[in-house]
């Protein structure tokens, strides 16, 4: 009986632990699209966003070059970006851009380790668009996607 109670106690502890310490998985992360205040539009459709972030469009409507800023694919925001926007794994995304750059068709995106670095780059680089999470700085604009500021 005592052994049984101990087992139940351990089981409950493990379940509570799992709820508390399970890391935020990529699908749960809300993504925010941020842009430099110069050239980047205030709103886009999801299809337009996907096309831009896939490197299919090189310039904004005012002629300024598009510069893509992404979190590294091994970060939670990077993994969420791969899944929600590119429909690829991190490995597939890296291969996709390496192949396109190798063909000379696009400029490589800039990858970052932290959201702060990414937001700093976007705020200082005209034409830059990036995928962030819970952005709070006033130095960049939030680009609404299909009318939403986060998805």
């Amino acid at each position: 009986m005592r052994y049984m109670r101990l087992m139940i106690f351990n089981f409950v502890i493990i379940i509570i632990g799992l709820f508390h310490f399970t890391p935020v998985i990529a699908q749960d992360i809300e993504l925010t699209i941020i842009g430099n205040t110069e050239s980047v539009p205030d709103e886009l459709t999801m299809n337009q966003l996907k096309s831009i972030l896939r490197g299919e469009k090189l310039r904004w409507d005012d002629g300024k070059g598009i510069k893509i800023a992404l979190m590294k694919t091994n970060t939670p925001v990077g993994t969420g970006t791969c899944e929600k926007i590119y429909d690829m794994t991190g490995n597939e995304l890296n291969k996709y851009f390496l192949a396109l750059v190798f063909q000379g068709k696009v400029k490589a995106p800039t990858f970052f380790n932290s959201v702060n670095e990414l937001e700093s780059y976007v705020s200082q680089t005209p034409g830059a668009i990036g995928v962030s999470h819970n952005s709070t700085t006033d130095l960049i604009k939030i680009v609404s996607i299909d009318g939403k500021n986060a998805f």
Binding site: S51, E56, K57, L58, R59, G63, K64, G65, N91, E92, N94, K95, L98, A99, V101, F102, Q103, G104, K105, K107, A108, G127
Partner: protein, 339 residues
């Protein structure tokens, strides 16, 4: 000039130098490399070998200009070091509007999807080696010249590439004659990961021109290449087929048509594992004087294991049946990496 004016001039000079330096240091340059090592069974013995080492450099010079360079270090038995350096691509790209570029330099001629996509990056190749139409030298792999290029235009993601350059028989610095080669390639992407393409290549090859396969052309040849491509690289299925009708016209033979092609297909059965096959078929008309008339049929079956996008292992069996050289069976294993 007074001392104070001189000082101002000095300060302005220093500021100009600093601003130039800052602009230059803002330039983004990336260096990548690709290499492969192989183990293969041939002529009754087992061999190890290293493949080409490909050095790939890109640099964004400003918002409009960029540079791409690809240099290969490869085995060459005739060199004193047994290695040669080969400049494969040197391209200065000017993005003048939207998705439209003007490019000048040495290019991979965009007649074929394979030549325009994989270049020398073995880690990208779906099979260990290129299709046999490359080894048979039936296409002009490089063109040095000027290109106008556009891509992802409109709903069908239309793309074009018009290239004018030194023709066959010329080298990287001088044309061997006054004729220029013209390449026109178009493609559409009607669905995600599907590309349909057509290309046309025209050149006049002068009498006396030295060709890559140690042949000197005895008389002037007018050459046209018509190529069709279907490429689909989805998450599950991969399919790539290219066929070229080569038309060579000489006064002594009239117009001679040869057909070269290959078909590749693979299925991703697990996340990283892709079994595949490739069939190569080269058929030359009897009167052919420009290509080496060596009708070829080859069947290849293999397995690709993608450890990551930078490390790929391939194992293959290939049966080649050639008119001049007879039958051969090859077993080959390759580890291709990007670094």
């Amino acid at each position: 000039m007074t001392r104070s004016k001189l000082r101002i001039v000095h300060i302005i000079s220093i500021l100009i130098c600093l601003s130039v330096h800052l602009k230059l240091s803002a330039q983004r340059t990336q260096i990548k490399g690709f290499v492969a090592v192989q183990a293969y069974q041939e002529d009754g013995k087992f061999n190890f070998g290293i493949g080409e080492q490909d050095l790939f450099i890109t640099s964004e010079l400003n918002d409009n200009f960029s540079f791409l360079g690809e240099t290969v270090f490869k085995f060459s038995p005739n060199s004193s070091t047994q290695f040669n350096i080969s400049v494969e691509r040197i391209i200065v790209n000017y993005n003048y509007k939207g998705n439209h570029n003007a490019l000048i330099g040495k290019h991979h001629t965009p007649t074929h999807y394979w030549n325009d996509t994989y270049h020398h990056g073995r880690v990208f190749f779906p099979t260990i080696e290129r299709p046999l139409l490359f080894a048979a030298q039936t296409l002009p792999i490089h063109t040095t010249g000027l290109a106008m290029q556009g891509f992802n235009l409109g709903k069908l993601k239309f793309g074009y590439n018009i290239m004018i350059g030194n023709g066959i028989g010329s080298n990287d610095v001088v044309d061997n004659d006054s004729y220029k080669s013209v390449t026109a390639a178009i493609h559409i992407k009607p669905k995600d990961k599907l590309q349909l393409g057509l290309s046309f290549y025209n050149d006049v090859i002068s009498e006396g021109a030295d060709l890559h396969h140690d042949i000197t052309v005895d008389e002037k040849i007018n050459q046209q290449l018509y190529t069709a491509t279907i490429a689909h690289f989805g998450r599950k299925f991969e399919f790539l087929a290219e066929g070229t009708l080569a038309s060579n016209h000489a006064n002594s033979t009239g117009t001679v048509n040869s057909f070269t092609s290959y078909l590749y297909t693979g299925v991703r059965i697990k996340d990283k594992l892709i079994p595949y096959i490739r069939i190569d078929y080269l058929d030359y008309q009897d009167e052919e004087i420009y290509f080496i008339k060596d009708d070829t049929f080859s069947f290849l079956a293999g397995m690709r294991y993608e450890i990551s996008y930078l490390i790929v292992v391939k194992m293959e069996y290939q049966h080649i049946d050639k008119e001049m050289q007879g039958n051969r069976d090859l077993f080959n294993t390759q580890i291709a990496i990007g670094f």
